[in-house]
Symmetry: C2
Subunit: 374 residues, 2 copies
């Protein structure tokens, strides 16, 4: 069931019903501009990842700020964006199953659509669906550049799969998908740079071998919020797939920059607003934001700009806060902004963004791909 | 947005679109019967916890199997049940905020409703809302019996709050809420028994002190799936609030029984069905069930009855499986049943249960309180 919106435009922040998913609009807009200004000198395009925001509204705002299109991870996300008027969508993942592939193929009449493959059997399934839908489907070859998840090996294996795609009258070879997911959260700058340097080398070699076989790569895509400056500056990647940059989270803020300081390229714009629902002891407060309302897979939430209040434990619907010595304790009913450990799965639990400017609700945006993992 | 159902009645299990939330109906029904037969000789009533299942359909089935009503943790859950015809609902939690309390009070005309408090300030808020709604609201006092989360101290503090409630013309003292959440997952039987023995002692003492002040407890509620046999047999608790028993999960299956064997009181009836979407290496498979489709806060999922296939890592939309030496690897497109680490937050990500009997879809049940954490 879709839940009703927790606020109305014009409400003050403290009137928002909680838990609620807040976007600080000023910080969010600054993040979109910052990304555009960082990519401009590199020539790399931004194809922002919608698995973070799951919303056609945000996709359009990103494209207004210069993004050429969107990445998605699932057919249901592609549907939500295509139905919401997003014109250019790359499914940066493999799709298996006849029904799912047919759904994807049907979207190719609404938007420019591409998908990834890492297996000849998948390519045959895509080919059959494209033929049945009478479209020519763009297919990228995913290569494993170090993450050890999906993807064929860079080099000859990738070239063979690309040739298989290019030989099909129903498919079009779309380029390479070369995302190094696990490198995004390597804390040290030098170590992160080294991991991506290796990914770039694998990708460069594969692009060159493809070229020798007469195959150009319209898209060479990869790079996330933790690493995109390296890919964008490589001269090999032409599309950056960052998602979290527009919101940020506690885990990305634990990465270090070149000077050894916490990365501060983007501002925290996403919050879960909670209410103090119990004050059982002088140094304990309980907030109404637990496991169902915030993702803890990458660490517990932080209380925004209140380092003396620590979120120490989550159960289904409760978060336990410890108030450190001498600090002012929050009152019963007080609203607190929490910074999620991991933004993507936190967003996916909500039906609405509450857009706030200067602590007043400005807009409500539906999260139309919420729960869209099919 | 509500997602479309991933299957239709009559489909074979391997035709279900994934990820999907499956109930094995035979195991589920056996769990409901088993709970009824375990509680019958104790005289304790079952008030099953709907924070697990979030569905009026399941609430009614539990009541058909003998439950006297339902517990919920949130006003949005109480709404989903009351609107779905559930007649007796205890909000086993504190509610703070005028809007939320007014929503709860309005439900008292549809169903028998009660709520908990652990603070005189909350009681004043409940009183004002009950007066405005012209109802008399049942309020239980929550006592902290060892979990260290919400609740007043057992004994005199609880008695004082109960007297405050009983003195109000707009409220009715409803009894004690005495749930020991953290004891549910104490692995050893003796240690679990000892933790609950202490909770029972605190509760017994408080019930007696209330009686000395002329206050009876219509409800003395607590006990979860890990501990309910102790509370039910205590002679003090008259209501059991177990939720997970109908589904079970990998974490509850790590508890030990009196004989030192893994607890086998209930059967695993809840699964996330996934599809193998990539086979990048002979000993690696990637399944389409990641952080968004299954909860990992209490450990990674297990592959049902395939101990040689281990789920070793989750990212947003991927689960990495390792196939151990010599075992048969799953094929591309194969459907696998996964056992969630934690059932409650897993359920909350889905809009539909797919009820399966003998590997064929029998029914679709909407999860009407999905995302209902307001």
């Amino acid at each position: 069931m879709q839940q009703p919106p927790p606020a109305s435009p014009g409400d003050r922040e403290e009137e928002i019903d909680t838990p609620a998913l807040l976007i600080d609009l000023g910080a969010f807009e600054a993040n979109l501009e910052r990304m555009a200004s960082l990519l401009r000198p590199t020539g790399a395009r931004l194809r922002a990842h919608a698995k973070t925001h799951k919303s056609a509204v945000i996709a359009h705002l990103q494209m207004k700020a210069g993004a050429v299109g969107q990445c998605v991870q699932k057919v249901a996300e592609a549907e939500a964006l295509a139905w919401g008027g997003v014109p250019d969508i790359l499914l940066s993942n493999e799709v298996v199953g006849a029904t799912k592939i047919a759904r994807l193929a049907s979207l190719a009449r609404l938007a420019r659509v591409a998908v990834c493959a890492d297996d000849a059997e998948q390519v045959a399934m895509l080919e059959a669906a494209a033929e049945a839908a009478r479209i020519r489907l763009r297919v990228l070859v995913e290569i494993d550049v170090g993450a050890g998840r999906c993807g064929v090996s860079p080099g000859p294996e990738a070239v063979a799969l690309a040739q298989r795609i290019a030989a099909s009258p129903h498919l079009r070879f779309g380029g390479l998908q070369a995302y190094h997911g696990s490198a995004q959260h390597i804390r040290g700058y030098a170590e992160r740079a080294a991991a991506i340097a290796e990914a770039v080398a694998h990708t460069r070699r594969t692009v060159e071998q493809l070229k020798q076989q007469g195959l150009d790569c319209p898209i060479v895509g990869g790079g996330g919020t933790g690493s995109f400056t390296f890919e964008a500056g490589s001269g090999v990647f032409n599309e950056i797939q960052a998602g979290s940059y527009c919101f940020m989270d506690a885990d990305y803020a634990r990465n270090f920059d070149e000077a050894g300081a916490p990365v501060s390229t983007f501002q925290q714009s996403l919050f879960v607003l909670g209410t103090v629902m119990s004050r059982p002891k002088p140094d304990v407060a309980v907030v109404d934001v637990g496991l169902k309302a915030i993702s803890v897979d990458s660490g517990l939430p932080l209380v925004w700009r209140q380092p003396h209040i620590r979120y120490v434990g989550a159960s289904d619907e409760h978060g336990k806060l410890i108030i450190e010595d001498g600090a002012t304790a929050p009152f019963l009913g007080e609203k607190l902004r929490l910074v999620p450990g991991h933004c993507d799965p936190t967003v996916d639990r909500y039906d609405w963004y509450v857009g706030v400017r200067d602590h007043r609700v400005e807009c409500l945006w539906p999260i139309t791909a919420r729960g869209g993992f099919n």
